[in-house]
Amino acid sequence: MCEDLYAQCTYEAESDTNFPELTVAQTLDVAAKARTPHKVGPRLTSESKAKQRKDAILSSLGLTQSCDTKVGNDFVRGISGGERKRLSIAEVLVGGSIVQCWDNSTRGLDSGNAQNFLSTLRSLVNQKGSVAFVALYQASQKMYDVFDLVILLYEGRQIFFGSTSTAKAYFTRLGFVSPKGLPTGDFLTSLTNPAERVVRDGFESKVPRTVDDFTRRWNESEECALLINE
Protein backbone atom coordinates (compact mmCIF):
# COMPACT_ATOMS: atom_id res chain seq x y z
CA MET A 1 0.00 0.00 0.00
CA CYS A 2 2.81 2.39 0.89
CA GLU A 3 4.40 1.91 -2.49
CA ASP A 4 1.16 2.67 -4.28
CA LEU A 5 0.27 5.62 -2.16
CA TYR A 6 2.37 8.19 -4.01
CA ALA A 7 0.73 7.70 -7.36
CA GLN A 8 -2.63 7.21 -5.78
CA CYS A 9 -2.57 10.53 -3.96
CA THR A 10 -3.34 13.58 -5.97
CA TYR A 11 -3.19 17.11 -4.67
CA GLU A 12 -5.30 19.53 -6.63
CA ALA A 13 -4.08 23.07 -6.08
CA GLU A 14 -5.93 26.21 -6.98
CA SER A 15 -4.22 27.16 -10.24
CA ASP A 16 -5.32 26.02 -13.68
CA THR A 17 -2.61 24.76 -16.01
CA ASN A 18 -3.58 23.30 -19.35
CA PHE A 19 -2.26 23.38 -22.88
CA PRO A 20 -4.21 26.20 -24.53
CA GLU A 21 -4.15 24.66 -28.01
CA LEU A 22 -5.78 21.39 -27.07
CA THR A 23 -9.54 20.92 -27.06
CA VAL A 24 -11.37 19.80 -23.92
CA ALA A 25 -11.89 16.30 -25.31
CA GLN A 26 -8.22 15.96 -26.25
CA THR A 27 -7.06 17.07 -22.79
CA LEU A 28 -9.25 14.52 -21.05
CA ASP A 29 -8.27 11.88 -23.60
CA VAL A 30 -4.69 12.05 -22.41
CA ALA A 31 -5.76 11.80 -18.78
CA ALA A 32 -8.05 8.85 -19.44
CA LYS A 33 -5.55 6.91 -21.57
CA ALA A 34 -2.69 7.55 -19.17
CA ARG A 35 -4.63 5.99 -16.31
CA THR A 36 -6.28 3.02 -18.03
CA PRO A 37 -4.25 -0.20 -17.96
CA HIS A 38 -3.72 -2.11 -21.19
CA LYS A 39 -5.52 -5.23 -20.07
CA VAL A 40 -8.96 -4.22 -18.95
CA GLY A 41 -11.33 -7.13 -19.43
CA PRO A 42 -12.53 -9.81 -21.85
CA ARG A 43 -14.85 -7.60 -23.84
CA LEU A 44 -13.47 -4.09 -23.37
CA THR A 45 -10.37 -2.65 -24.96
CA SER A 46 -8.46 -0.06 -22.98
CA GLU A 47 -9.35 2.54 -25.65
CA SER A 48 -13.06 2.06 -25.15
CA LYS A 49 -12.76 1.94 -21.36
CA ALA A 50 -10.83 5.20 -21.41
CA LYS A 51 -13.43 6.74 -23.71
CA GLN A 52 -16.25 5.55 -21.45
CA ARG A 53 -14.62 7.07 -18.40
CA LYS A 54 -13.96 10.31 -20.22
CA ASP A 55 -17.54 10.60 -21.53
CA ALA A 56 -19.00 9.87 -18.11
CA ILE A 57 -17.01 12.61 -16.42
CA LEU A 58 -17.62 15.05 -19.29
CA SER A 59 -21.37 14.67 -19.00
CA SER A 60 -21.50 14.75 -15.21
CA LEU A 61 -19.59 18.03 -15.09
CA GLY A 62 -21.57 19.57 -17.94
CA LEU A 63 -18.70 19.87 -20.40
CA THR A 64 -20.15 17.91 -23.34
CA GLN A 65 -21.23 20.89 -25.40
CA SER A 66 -17.78 22.44 -25.23
CA CYS A 67 -15.81 19.24 -25.74
CA ASP A 68 -14.52 20.29 -29.16
CA THR A 69 -13.61 23.84 -28.18
CA LYS A 70 -9.99 24.74 -27.49
CA VAL A 71 -9.07 25.33 -23.88
CA GLY A 72 -7.42 28.66 -24.53
CA ASN A 73 -5.74 31.04 -22.12
CA ASP A 74 -5.32 34.80 -21.80
CA PHE A 75 -4.01 35.02 -25.36
CA VAL A 76 -5.90 32.28 -27.17
CA ARG A 77 -9.70 32.31 -27.22
CA GLY A 78 -11.33 29.20 -25.79
CA ILE A 79 -13.70 27.99 -23.12
CA SER A 80 -14.89 30.17 -20.24
CA GLY A 81 -13.17 30.45 -16.87
CA GLY A 82 -15.70 28.29 -15.06
CA GLU A 83 -15.42 25.60 -17.72
CA ARG A 84 -11.64 25.69 -17.47
CA LYS A 85 -11.95 25.12 -13.75
CA ARG A 86 -14.28 22.20 -14.35
CA LEU A 87 -11.83 20.83 -16.88
CA SER A 88 -9.06 20.83 -14.26
CA ILE A 89 -11.38 19.02 -11.90
CA ALA A 90 -12.37 16.55 -14.63
CA GLU A 91 -8.71 15.79 -15.31
CA VAL A 92 -8.16 14.70 -11.72
CA LEU A 93 -11.42 12.75 -11.56
CA VAL A 94 -10.59 10.90 -14.78
CA GLY A 95 -7.17 10.11 -13.31
CA GLY A 96 -9.00 8.25 -10.57
CA SER A 97 -6.65 8.06 -7.61
CA ILE A 98 -7.51 6.42 -4.31
CA VAL A 99 -6.68 9.34 -2.06
CA GLN A 100 -7.52 12.78 -3.36
CA CYS A 101 -6.90 16.15 -1.75
CA TRP A 102 -8.83 19.07 -3.15
CA ASP A 103 -7.74 22.51 -2.04
CA ASN A 104 -10.43 25.11 -2.70
CA SER A 105 -11.29 23.62 -6.07
CA THR A 106 -14.72 25.26 -6.25
CA ARG A 107 -13.28 28.76 -6.42
CA GLY A 108 -14.87 30.62 -9.31
CA LEU A 109 -17.68 28.12 -9.76
CA ASP A 110 -21.32 29.05 -9.21
CA SER A 111 -23.26 27.11 -6.60
CA GLY A 112 -24.90 24.82 -9.18
CA ASN A 113 -21.58 23.77 -10.66
CA ALA A 114 -19.99 23.42 -7.24
CA GLN A 115 -22.84 21.13 -6.15
CA ASN A 116 -22.46 19.14 -9.39
CA PHE A 117 -18.78 18.69 -8.73
CA LEU A 118 -19.41 17.47 -5.21
CA SER A 119 -22.12 15.01 -6.30
CA THR A 120 -19.79 13.63 -9.00
CA LEU A 121 -17.02 13.32 -6.43
CA ARG A 122 -19.38 11.59 -4.02
CA SER A 123 -20.55 9.04 -6.57
CA LEU A 124 -16.95 8.32 -7.66
CA VAL A 125 -15.89 7.88 -4.05
CA ASN A 126 -18.80 5.50 -3.44
CA GLN A 127 -18.01 3.56 -6.61
CA LYS A 128 -14.31 3.10 -6.11
CA GLY A 129 -14.11 3.17 -2.34
CA SER A 130 -11.62 6.05 -2.49
CA VAL A 131 -11.15 8.92 -0.06
CA ALA A 132 -11.43 12.59 -0.87
CA PHE A 133 -10.29 15.39 1.44
CA VAL A 134 -11.90 18.64 0.36
CA ALA A 135 -11.31 22.18 1.60
CA LEU A 136 -14.24 24.38 0.68
CA TYR A 137 -14.86 28.04 1.22
CA GLN A 138 -18.44 29.18 1.79
CA ALA A 139 -19.96 25.73 1.76
CA SER A 140 -23.74 25.73 1.66
CA GLN A 141 -25.66 23.33 3.90
CA LYS A 142 -26.30 21.05 0.92
CA MET A 143 -22.59 20.89 0.12
CA TYR A 144 -21.75 20.21 3.76
CA ASP A 145 -24.21 17.32 3.90
CA VAL A 146 -22.47 15.51 1.02
CA PHE A 147 -19.58 14.66 3.30
CA ASP A 148 -19.21 11.92 5.91
CA LEU A 149 -16.58 13.38 8.19
CA VAL A 150 -15.45 16.84 9.14
CA ILE A 151 -12.20 17.94 10.75
CA LEU A 152 -11.96 21.30 12.47
CA LEU A 153 -8.56 22.88 13.00
CA TYR A 154 -7.89 25.88 15.21
CA GLU A 155 -4.41 27.41 14.76
CA GLY A 156 -3.24 24.08 13.39
CA ARG A 157 -4.57 22.02 16.29
CA GLN A 158 -7.43 19.59 15.95
CA ILE A 159 -10.49 20.46 17.97
CA PHE A 160 -12.98 18.16 16.28
CA PHE A 161 -12.87 15.17 13.97
CA GLY A 162 -16.02 13.23 13.48
CA SER A 163 -19.23 12.74 11.62
CA THR A 164 -20.72 15.78 9.91
CA SER A 165 -24.06 15.13 11.58
CA THR A 166 -22.73 15.17 15.15
CA ALA A 167 -20.39 18.16 14.86
CA LYS A 168 -23.07 20.73 15.57
CA ALA A 169 -24.38 18.77 18.57
CA TYR A 170 -20.92 18.51 20.10
CA PHE A 171 -20.30 22.23 19.97
CA THR A 172 -23.82 23.07 21.12
CA ARG A 173 -23.15 20.85 24.12
CA LEU A 174 -19.96 22.79 24.83
CA GLY A 175 -22.07 25.92 25.05
CA PHE A 176 -22.08 27.55 21.67
CA VAL A 177 -25.14 28.69 19.78
CA SER A 178 -25.60 28.39 16.05
CA PRO A 179 -27.69 31.34 14.82
CA LYS A 180 -30.80 30.34 12.94
CA GLY A 181 -30.26 29.76 9.23
CA LEU A 182 -26.47 29.63 9.46
CA PRO A 183 -25.06 26.68 7.46
CA THR A 184 -23.22 24.21 9.68
CA GLY A 185 -19.96 24.80 7.82
CA ASP A 186 -20.06 28.51 8.58
CA PHE A 187 -21.00 27.78 12.19
CA LEU A 188 -17.97 25.55 12.62
CA THR A 189 -15.56 28.03 11.09
CA SER A 190 -17.00 30.85 13.18
CA LEU A 191 -16.00 28.96 16.32
CA THR A 192 -12.35 29.60 15.56
CA ASN A 193 -12.88 33.34 15.59
CA PRO A 194 -13.46 34.84 19.06
CA ALA A 195 -15.27 37.81 17.54
CA GLU A 196 -17.70 35.60 15.63
CA ARG A 197 -18.65 32.82 18.00
CA VAL A 198 -21.87 33.13 19.99
CA VAL A 199 -22.04 31.72 23.51
CA ARG A 200 -25.28 30.53 25.05
CA ASP A 201 -26.51 32.41 28.12
CA GLY A 202 -25.27 30.90 31.33
CA PHE A 203 -22.29 29.16 29.71
CA GLU A 204 -19.86 32.08 29.63
CA SER A 205 -17.58 30.66 32.30
CA LYS A 206 -17.81 27.02 31.15
CA VAL A 207 -17.18 27.51 27.46
CA PRO A 208 -13.59 26.92 26.11
CA ARG A 209 -11.92 30.17 25.14
CA THR A 210 -8.34 29.55 24.04
CA VAL A 211 -6.96 26.97 21.62
CA ASP A 212 -5.64 24.93 24.55
CA ASP A 213 -9.10 24.87 26.15
CA PHE A 214 -10.67 23.63 22.94
CA THR A 215 -8.05 20.94 22.43
CA ARG A 216 -8.29 19.77 26.02
CA ARG A 217 -12.08 19.53 25.89
CA TRP A 218 -11.88 17.62 22.61
CA ASN A 219 -9.33 15.15 23.93
CA GLU A 220 -11.47 14.51 27.00
CA SER A 221 -14.73 14.14 25.11
CA GLU A 222 -16.65 10.96 24.31
CA GLU A 223 -16.53 11.54 20.57
CA CYS A 224 -12.75 11.51 20.67
CA ALA A 225 -12.72 8.26 22.63
CA LEU A 226 -15.11 6.72 20.10
CA LEU A 227 -12.81 7.78 17.28
CA ILE A 228 -9.76 6.21 18.88
CA ASN A 229 -11.58 2.95 19.36
CA GLU A 230 -12.73 2.83 15.74
Binding site: L22, D29, K33, P37, L227
Partner: protein
Amino acid sequence: MSDDISISRQSVGQTQGQSFEQYQRPTFILPLESQVSLCIRRGFQRAENALAPPISSIAGNAIVSIILGSIFYDLPEDTSSFISRGVLIFFAVLINTFLGALEGVQLWAHHPIVEKHHRYAFYRPSAEAIASLICDLPNKLLLTTFFNVPVYFLANMRRTPAAFFTFYLFAFSSLLIGPMLFRTIGAMSRTLASSIAPGADFILLLVIYTGFVLPIPSMHPWLRWFRCIDPMGYAFESLMINEFSGRDFACRTFIS
Protein backbone atom coordinates in the same frame (compact mmCIF):
# COMPACT_ATOMS: atom_id res chain seq x y z
CA MET B 1 -4.81 10.05 19.31
CA SER B 2 -1.95 11.38 17.26
CA ASP B 3 0.34 8.83 18.94
CA ASP B 4 -1.92 6.06 17.76
CA ILE B 5 -1.77 7.27 14.20
CA SER B 6 2.03 7.50 14.13
CA ILE B 7 2.34 4.00 15.57
CA SER B 8 0.04 2.52 12.94
CA ARG B 9 1.96 4.30 10.14
CA GLN B 10 5.22 2.95 11.48
CA SER B 11 3.93 -0.59 11.66
CA VAL B 12 2.62 -0.44 8.11
CA GLY B 13 5.95 0.94 6.94
CA GLN B 14 7.87 -1.77 8.76
CA THR B 15 5.83 -4.56 7.27
CA GLN B 16 6.51 -3.12 3.83
CA GLY B 17 10.20 -2.86 4.58
CA GLN B 18 10.55 0.87 4.06
CA SER B 19 9.78 3.98 6.10
CA PHE B 20 6.71 5.98 5.31
CA GLU B 21 8.61 9.23 4.98
CA GLN B 22 10.91 7.84 2.27
CA TYR B 23 10.21 9.24 -1.20
CA GLN B 24 8.27 6.65 -3.17
CA ARG B 25 8.51 6.43 -6.95
CA PRO B 26 5.22 7.17 -8.61
CA THR B 27 3.72 4.02 -10.08
CA PHE B 28 2.71 4.78 -13.62
CA ILE B 29 0.07 2.61 -15.19
CA LEU B 30 1.44 2.86 -18.71
CA PRO B 31 4.95 1.68 -19.66
CA LEU B 32 7.36 4.29 -21.01
CA GLU B 33 6.73 3.49 -24.71
CA SER B 34 2.99 4.03 -24.28
CA GLN B 35 3.60 7.25 -22.41
CA VAL B 36 5.81 8.49 -25.24
CA SER B 37 3.28 7.53 -27.93
CA LEU B 38 0.51 9.22 -25.92
CA CYS B 39 2.57 12.40 -25.73
CA ILE B 40 3.43 12.18 -29.45
CA ARG B 41 -0.24 11.90 -30.37
CA ARG B 42 -1.00 14.88 -28.20
CA GLY B 43 1.95 16.81 -29.66
CA PHE B 44 0.60 16.38 -33.17
CA GLN B 45 -2.88 17.37 -32.00
CA ARG B 46 -1.42 20.54 -30.52
CA ALA B 47 0.48 21.30 -33.73
CA GLU B 48 -2.68 20.69 -35.79
CA ASN B 49 -4.73 23.03 -33.61
CA ALA B 50 -2.18 25.83 -33.80
CA LEU B 51 -0.71 25.83 -37.30
CA ALA B 52 -0.12 29.57 -37.60
CA PRO B 53 3.18 29.94 -35.68
CA PRO B 54 5.16 27.20 -37.50
CA ILE B 55 3.79 28.21 -40.93
CA SER B 56 4.60 31.86 -40.41
CA SER B 57 8.06 30.94 -39.16
CA ILE B 58 8.73 28.84 -42.26
CA ALA B 59 7.41 31.57 -44.57
CA GLY B 60 9.47 34.23 -42.80
CA ASN B 61 12.63 32.16 -43.01
CA ALA B 62 12.03 31.44 -46.68
CA ILE B 63 11.95 35.19 -47.31
CA VAL B 64 15.16 35.65 -45.30
CA SER B 65 16.75 32.93 -47.37
CA ILE B 66 15.79 34.62 -50.64
CA ILE B 67 17.13 37.94 -49.39
CA LEU B 68 20.38 36.28 -48.35
CA GLY B 69 20.61 34.56 -51.70
CA SER B 70 20.13 37.84 -53.48
CA ILE B 71 22.91 39.48 -51.48
CA PHE B 72 25.30 36.72 -52.55
CA TYR B 73 23.64 36.27 -55.92
CA ASP B 74 25.38 34.06 -58.47
CA LEU B 75 28.88 33.97 -57.01
CA PRO B 76 31.46 33.64 -59.81
CA GLU B 77 33.52 30.46 -59.91
CA ASP B 78 36.86 32.13 -59.42
CA THR B 79 39.01 33.30 -56.57
CA SER B 80 37.11 36.53 -56.01
CA SER B 81 34.21 34.62 -54.50
CA PHE B 82 36.26 32.85 -51.79
CA ILE B 83 35.46 35.33 -49.08
CA SER B 84 31.78 35.52 -50.00
CA ARG B 85 31.45 31.74 -50.02
CA GLY B 86 33.08 31.53 -46.62
CA VAL B 87 30.79 34.22 -45.25
CA LEU B 88 27.73 32.56 -46.69
CA ILE B 89 28.60 29.19 -45.24
CA PHE B 90 29.27 30.73 -41.85
CA PHE B 91 26.01 32.64 -42.03
CA ALA B 92 24.08 29.52 -42.94
CA VAL B 93 25.54 27.54 -40.03
CA LEU B 94 24.98 30.48 -37.68
CA ILE B 95 21.35 31.02 -38.55
CA ASN B 96 20.54 27.31 -38.59
CA THR B 97 22.00 26.85 -35.12
CA PHE B 98 20.46 29.91 -33.55
CA LEU B 99 16.99 29.63 -35.02
CA GLY B 100 16.22 27.39 -32.08
CA ALA B 101 17.77 29.56 -29.40
CA LEU B 102 14.44 30.52 -27.93
CA GLU B 103 13.13 26.97 -27.61
CA GLY B 104 14.59 26.53 -24.17
CA VAL B 105 12.66 29.57 -23.00
CA GLN B 106 9.47 28.38 -24.70
CA LEU B 107 9.64 25.11 -22.80
CA TRP B 108 9.27 26.98 -19.54
CA ALA B 109 5.66 27.77 -20.38
CA HIS B 110 4.92 24.04 -20.41
CA HIS B 111 6.80 23.29 -17.21
CA PRO B 112 3.81 23.64 -14.83
CA ILE B 113 1.59 21.49 -17.04
CA VAL B 114 4.11 18.68 -17.38
CA GLU B 115 4.89 18.82 -13.66
CA LYS B 116 1.20 18.60 -12.85
CA HIS B 117 0.79 15.54 -15.05
CA HIS B 118 3.83 13.95 -13.46
CA ARG B 119 2.29 14.49 -10.05
CA TYR B 120 -0.95 12.87 -11.19
CA ALA B 121 1.16 9.95 -12.44
CA PHE B 122 0.00 10.29 -16.06
CA TYR B 123 3.46 10.18 -17.65
CA ARG B 124 7.08 10.98 -16.92
CA PRO B 125 8.52 14.36 -17.95
CA SER B 126 11.14 12.47 -19.99
CA ALA B 127 8.35 10.93 -22.08
CA GLU B 128 7.11 14.42 -22.89
CA ALA B 129 10.66 15.56 -23.72
CA ILE B 130 11.20 12.68 -26.17
CA ALA B 131 7.77 13.23 -27.69
CA SER B 132 8.30 16.96 -28.22
CA LEU B 133 11.57 16.17 -30.03
CA ILE B 134 9.80 13.79 -32.38
CA CYS B 135 6.83 16.09 -32.95
CA ASP B 136 9.23 18.86 -33.90
CA LEU B 137 10.94 16.85 -36.68
CA PRO B 138 8.48 17.61 -39.52
CA ASN B 139 8.72 21.31 -38.70
CA LYS B 140 12.52 21.12 -38.75
CA LEU B 141 12.58 19.24 -42.07
CA LEU B 142 10.37 21.83 -43.73
CA LEU B 143 12.45 24.63 -42.27
CA THR B 144 15.68 23.10 -43.60
CA THR B 145 14.18 22.88 -47.05
CA PHE B 146 12.66 26.34 -47.14
CA PHE B 147 15.59 28.12 -45.57
CA ASN B 148 18.65 26.42 -47.05
CA VAL B 149 17.61 25.44 -50.56
CA PRO B 150 16.87 28.94 -51.95
CA VAL B 151 20.10 30.39 -50.61
CA TYR B 152 22.17 27.45 -51.90
CA PHE B 153 20.99 27.75 -55.46
CA LEU B 154 20.68 31.51 -55.65
CA ALA B 155 24.27 31.91 -54.52
CA ASN B 156 25.62 29.40 -57.03
CA MET B 157 27.21 27.13 -54.45
CA ARG B 158 28.77 23.90 -55.66
CA ARG B 159 26.22 22.38 -58.01
CA THR B 160 26.73 18.69 -57.65
CA PRO B 161 24.21 16.35 -56.01
CA ALA B 162 26.78 15.10 -53.51
CA ALA B 163 27.67 18.62 -52.41
CA PHE B 164 24.06 19.71 -52.16
CA PHE B 165 22.89 16.78 -50.07
CA THR B 166 25.91 17.05 -47.77
CA PHE B 167 25.04 20.70 -47.27
CA TYR B 168 21.44 19.70 -46.56
CA LEU B 169 22.58 17.12 -44.01
CA PHE B 170 24.75 19.56 -42.09
CA ALA B 171 22.10 22.26 -42.21
CA PHE B 172 19.51 19.83 -40.82
CA SER B 173 21.82 18.68 -38.04
CA SER B 174 22.64 22.29 -37.11
CA LEU B 175 18.92 22.99 -36.97
CA LEU B 176 18.50 20.06 -34.59
CA ILE B 177 21.55 20.76 -32.45
CA GLY B 178 20.78 24.40 -31.70
CA PRO B 179 17.42 23.81 -29.98
CA MET B 180 18.81 20.70 -28.28
CA LEU B 181 21.58 22.71 -26.67
CA PHE B 182 19.25 25.44 -25.49
CA ARG B 183 16.69 22.98 -24.22
CA THR B 184 19.39 21.28 -22.19
CA ILE B 185 20.35 24.59 -20.67
CA GLY B 186 16.68 25.37 -20.00
CA ALA B 187 16.08 21.97 -18.42
CA MET B 188 19.10 22.32 -16.14
CA SER B 189 18.09 25.73 -14.83
CA ARG B 190 15.84 26.25 -11.87
CA THR B 191 14.16 29.43 -13.06
CA LEU B 192 13.38 31.01 -16.40
CA ALA B 193 15.76 33.91 -15.84
CA SER B 194 18.66 31.66 -14.97
CA SER B 195 18.31 29.78 -18.25
CA ILE B 196 18.86 32.89 -20.38
CA ALA B 197 22.30 33.89 -19.11
CA PRO B 198 24.18 30.61 -19.81
CA GLY B 199 22.45 30.54 -23.21
CA ALA B 200 23.86 33.95 -24.05
CA ASP B 201 27.34 32.87 -22.93
CA PHE B 202 27.17 29.83 -25.12
CA ILE B 203 26.10 31.86 -28.14
CA LEU B 204 29.15 34.05 -27.77
CA LEU B 205 31.56 31.17 -27.32
CA LEU B 206 30.03 29.16 -30.14
CA VAL B 207 30.29 32.00 -32.61
CA ILE B 208 33.83 33.05 -31.73
CA TYR B 209 35.32 29.57 -31.69
CA THR B 210 33.72 28.36 -34.93
CA GLY B 211 36.83 29.29 -36.83
CA PHE B 212 35.46 32.01 -39.04
CA VAL B 213 35.57 35.12 -36.87
CA LEU B 214 38.92 34.00 -35.49
CA PRO B 215 41.09 31.74 -37.62
CA ILE B 216 42.35 28.77 -35.64
CA PRO B 217 45.99 29.90 -35.35
CA SER B 218 44.81 33.20 -33.86
CA MET B 219 42.82 31.54 -31.13
CA HIS B 220 44.38 31.92 -27.72
CA PRO B 221 45.32 28.56 -26.20
CA TRP B 222 43.37 29.04 -22.99
CA LEU B 223 40.02 28.73 -24.77
CA ARG B 224 41.04 27.03 -28.00
CA TRP B 225 39.85 23.71 -26.52
CA PHE B 226 36.29 24.98 -26.86
CA ARG B 227 36.58 24.31 -30.58
CA CYS B 228 36.64 20.59 -29.84
CA ILE B 229 33.14 20.70 -28.32
CA ASP B 230 31.74 23.37 -30.63
CA PRO B 231 29.14 21.83 -32.96
CA MET B 232 29.14 24.93 -35.12
CA GLY B 233 32.90 24.54 -35.60
CA TYR B 234 32.51 21.01 -36.94
CA ALA B 235 29.62 21.98 -39.21
CA PHE B 236 31.50 24.97 -40.57
CA GLU B 237 34.68 22.99 -41.23
CA SER B 238 32.70 20.24 -42.96
CA LEU B 239 30.81 22.64 -45.15
CA MET B 240 33.99 24.46 -46.14
CA ILE B 241 35.52 21.15 -47.17
CA ASN B 242 32.31 20.26 -48.97
CA GLU B 243 32.38 23.50 -50.93
CA PHE B 244 36.09 23.81 -51.78
CA SER B 245 37.73 20.42 -51.76
CA GLY B 246 38.76 18.91 -55.10
CA ARG B 247 37.73 21.95 -57.08
CA ASP B 248 39.64 24.26 -59.43
CA PHE B 249 39.09 28.00 -59.26
CA ALA B 250 40.39 30.44 -61.92
CA CYS B 251 42.61 33.23 -60.64
CA ARG B 252 41.03 36.64 -60.77
CA THR B 253 43.85 38.95 -59.78
CA PHE B 254 47.58 38.49 -60.18
CA ILE B 255 49.84 39.55 -57.41
CA SER B 256 53.28 40.26 -58.69
